[in-house]
């Protein structure tokens, strides 16, 4: 019975708003002064970064030769499940509009120290998964960093609410099983839009399942089993959504699905290039869609 109520409320939520001619949604207030101050700080940090990028470049030995334009994958994306994916994309857009956005907009009105506490808390929990994955990727230095972050933030950072490790130059560096699979040589695989979660590929989808499996298996402080796990999952989802600045169909464009797919898979492929610095790649065939 309870499930029926939930389904009914959900259906009303999705369909009910459609009939009104004039609907007002309250959004979190904008903070232009602080945003601009942050942009100035970022511009300064970027200027410094650019120096570093330039000075780092020719570290030579063992590295594969630089990529040339001919090495770029096709502009087409491997998407054999396109109809299914497009269906999911539409579902996600509606779900976002009816459920996710209103909730995360309300959440974003909470004072920012509370929100950053929640954000850091979940980030800290994921360090366990980072540690395991960096280890099996053979990147032990990074694994040690993750361990260091977890220890510092769980103690001085009061159970992960504060990211003190970042102040000790141990910046956040998330990874996951999807990246591990890539390190092991797996291609991204077909594009996949996962209900509620959004753009992914087969490899990244497997990665997500495994990442959750690890958290569930380790079950730190018994957070991931039992009744509280539901609340935790919802809080994690809301926090994640509130930190993604994306609005379905704000482009207004019929090509939005194609554009997001293109950008998502290209980002993944570029990250793969970074993981395989030492491997001389085979030239991609122009006929094979990227990601295959």
């Amino acid at each position: 019975m309870r499930i029926l109520h939930v389904v009914l409320a959900f259906a009303l939520g999705l369909g009910g708003c459609a009939s009104q001619d004039f609907v007002i949604h309250r959004l979190p207030p904008e903070t232009p002064a602080a945003d601009n101050a942050a942009a100035i700080a970022r511009a300064e940090a970027l200027a410094k970064d650019q120096q570093e990028v330039k000075s780092e470049q020719p570290s030579g030995e063992e590295q594969a030769p630089p990529l040339t334009p001919a090495d770029a994958p096709s502009m087409r994306t491997y998407d054999p499940w396109e109809r299914f994916n497009r269906f999911n994309y539409r579902f996600n857009a509606r779900f976002d509009e009816a459920v996710f956005l209103p909730v995360s907009n309300a959440y974003r009105r909470l004072p920012s120290p509370i929100r950053s506490g929640v954000y850091n808390f979940f980030g800290n929990l994921s360090e366990i998964n980072n540690l395991i994955n960096y280890t099996v990727q053979g990147r032990l230095g990074r694994g040690v960093r993750s361990l260091g972050r977890f220890v510092i933030n769980s103690t001085i950072g009061i159970g992960g609410l504060f990211d003190f490790a970042a102040k000790f130059h141990l910046a956040k560096a998330p990874t996951g099983f999807g990246t591990t699979l890539s390190k092991w040589g797996m291609h991204p695989g077909p594009y996949l839009v996962i209900p509620i979660l959004g753009p992914s590929t087969l490899r990244e989808g497997i990665g997500l399942l495994s990442d959750y499996g690890v958290l569930y298996g380790v079950n730190i402080a018994d957070l991931y089993r039992g009744d509280q796990s539901w609340g935790l999952g919802v809080a994690d989802a809301v926090d994640t959504r509130a930190n993604i600045h994306f609005r379905y169909y704000s482009s207004g464009s019929p090509f939005e699905y194609d554009d997001i797919r293109f950008l998502y898979v290209r980002r993944l492929l570029l990250e793969d290039e970074g993981l395989h610095k030492k491997i001389v790649r085979k030239r991609p065939s122009r006929d094979v869609p990227a990601g295959r």
């Binding site: 007002i24 232009p32 511009a43 539409r90 704000s250 482009s251 970074g274």
Partner: protein, 434 residues
């Protein structure tokens, strides 16, 4: 300082110049390096005008009573999305219109909203009539880009929205603004209101408007052809080059994720030459154009990329259509969609008259004689040539300010632009030489 970039943007004289006075400003009409750079990277954050700490914001979704049936493929665009920030006391309302392809909450609009709200205005921001969400929900034709038609649709939408604003909002006066194409739209809306008196619009500030829509867009087509090449093959070459450069940069950096910070760093490292700036600007503009082209073709049933008998259904792959549209210049939208549609619906018109009807000349008298129209522009604006800038200067007289630098919108939000804009809106403007 000005380094005319070879022949990046040849200064072609539009065929329809009407008694253009001799140019006196430093306008080159050519794309020089600093203009391209400013256009691409925008106002540096340290030059942005002072902003308020918080600005309240609501999103309003409006269904227009005159809306045409929503095509299945545009199921998400049935309502117009506009954004409103209310003062908690009686205040003037500033209505701001986005530039080509822009939605109701672009970064430019957000900057203007901050400045206007900080100066005590209620602020309502609207998408461009060329934004697909506007074309589907609000346009009475579905074929965007006609100044007068788009102005009428905008004006009707404004009336409906203003009438339905939450009851507590007390409006003492109404002004309209817009940037780029939105600037031209704002001028037209004020001129319509001067006849119909539905909103009693007081002042209009047009920020870097085009003078001739089609000549401005033709310049962007030319930029595309020169910097990217013709058709989709040019886009593919550009993509391959960018991909390789990004991959090499990313490998050289010690980063884990490709995030916004990396992309910003990379953009500055990868885009260095005039040709690269031009390519990026032209591509961004082309992407905006594709939506308008697609929607126009669908509504006008002109069959360029959309088969009128079998319009694409929801969930159908669109990659092929997108690829074709990437290679199509605006000129094709004009000759194959826009002109056929309007020639059919306005039997007395000709191709030439359609072009002429899309110049600011159509409100030239009002711009000249009405003290409440203002223009802000740049001497190196990419979308103007010398004679167009000279026309603006001679028409507006003391009601125009021309900045030396900024390219197109590369100084929107900077201290001087905002201060002058607020002076103009408040009636304090005494001319550029004050």
């Amino acid at each position: 300082m000005f380094m005319p970039a070879s022949a990046t943007l040849a200064d072609d004289q539009p065929a329809t110049v009407i008694a253009a006075p001799v140019a006196k400003g430093p306008a080159t009409g050519l794309a020089d390096s600093s203009a391209l750079r400013a256009t691409l990277f925008g106002t540096p954050p340290q030059d942005i005008a002072p902003m308020p700490a918080t600005v309240p914001l609501v999103e309003i979704n409006v269904r227009m009573p005159w809306a045409r049936p929503v095509p299945a493929i545009f199921w998400f665009d049935g309502k117009l999305r506009v954004y409103f920030s209310a003062q908690d006391k009686p205040a003037p309302l500033a209505i701001v219109i986005a530039g080509t392809g822009g939605d109701g909450n672009t970064t430019f609009l957000s900057t203007l909203r901050g400045a206007l709200y900080g100066a005590g205005y209620h602020v309502l921001t609207l998408p461009s009539p060329t934004y697909p969400g506007f074309i589907v929900s609000t346009s009475s034709t579905g074929v965007a880009g006609d100044l007068m038609q788009d102005g009428q649709d905008l004006y009707a939408a404004m009336q409906r929205i203003v009438a339905h604003l939450p009851g507590k909002v007390q409006i003492t006066d109404i002004d309209v603004l817009g940037y780029s194409l939105g600037g031209a739209n704002a001028g037209i809306v004020k001129s319509l209101d001067a006849n119909e008196h539905k909103l009693h619009i007081h002042r209009a500030v047009m920020i870097e408007p085009p003078v001739s829509l089609f000549d401005s867009v033709a310049r962007m087509d030319k930029l595309f052809a020169l910097s990217i090449g013709s058709g989709d093959a040019g886009v593919e070459r550009l993509y391959q080059k960018l991909y390789a450069q990004l991959a090499n940069l990313y490998r050289a950096s010690d980063r884990v994720e490709i995030d916004t910070n990396f992309l910003l760093t990379a953009a500055a490292a990868v885009l260095n030459t005039d040709a690269e700036f031009s390519a990026a600007i032209a591509l961004i503009f082309r992407i905006d154009l594709m939506n308008m082209f697609f929607a126009g073709d669908l509504y006008a049933k002109t069959g360029v990329v959309v088969d009128p008998r079998h319009p694409p259904k929801v969930g159908e792959p669109l990659e092929r259509i997108e690829r074709i549209l990437r290679g199509k210049p605006f000129a094709e939208y004009f000759t194959k969609v826009f002109a056929p549609y309007y020639l059919k619906h306005r039997p007395q018109s000709t191709t030439e008259s359609l072009v002429a009807a899309n110049r600011l000349d159509i409100i030239g008298d009002a711009l000249r004689n009405d003290p409440d129209y203002y223009v802000q522009t740049n001497s190196d604006d990419l979308i103007l040539n010398k004679s167009e800038l000279a026309w603006l200067e001679s028409t507006l007289g003391s009601k125009i300010v021309v900045y030396d630098h900024g390219g197109h919108l590369g100084n929107l939000g900077d201290r001087q632009q905002i201060a002058d804009m607020l002076d103009m809106l408040a009636g304090r403007w005494r001319g550029a030489a004050q």
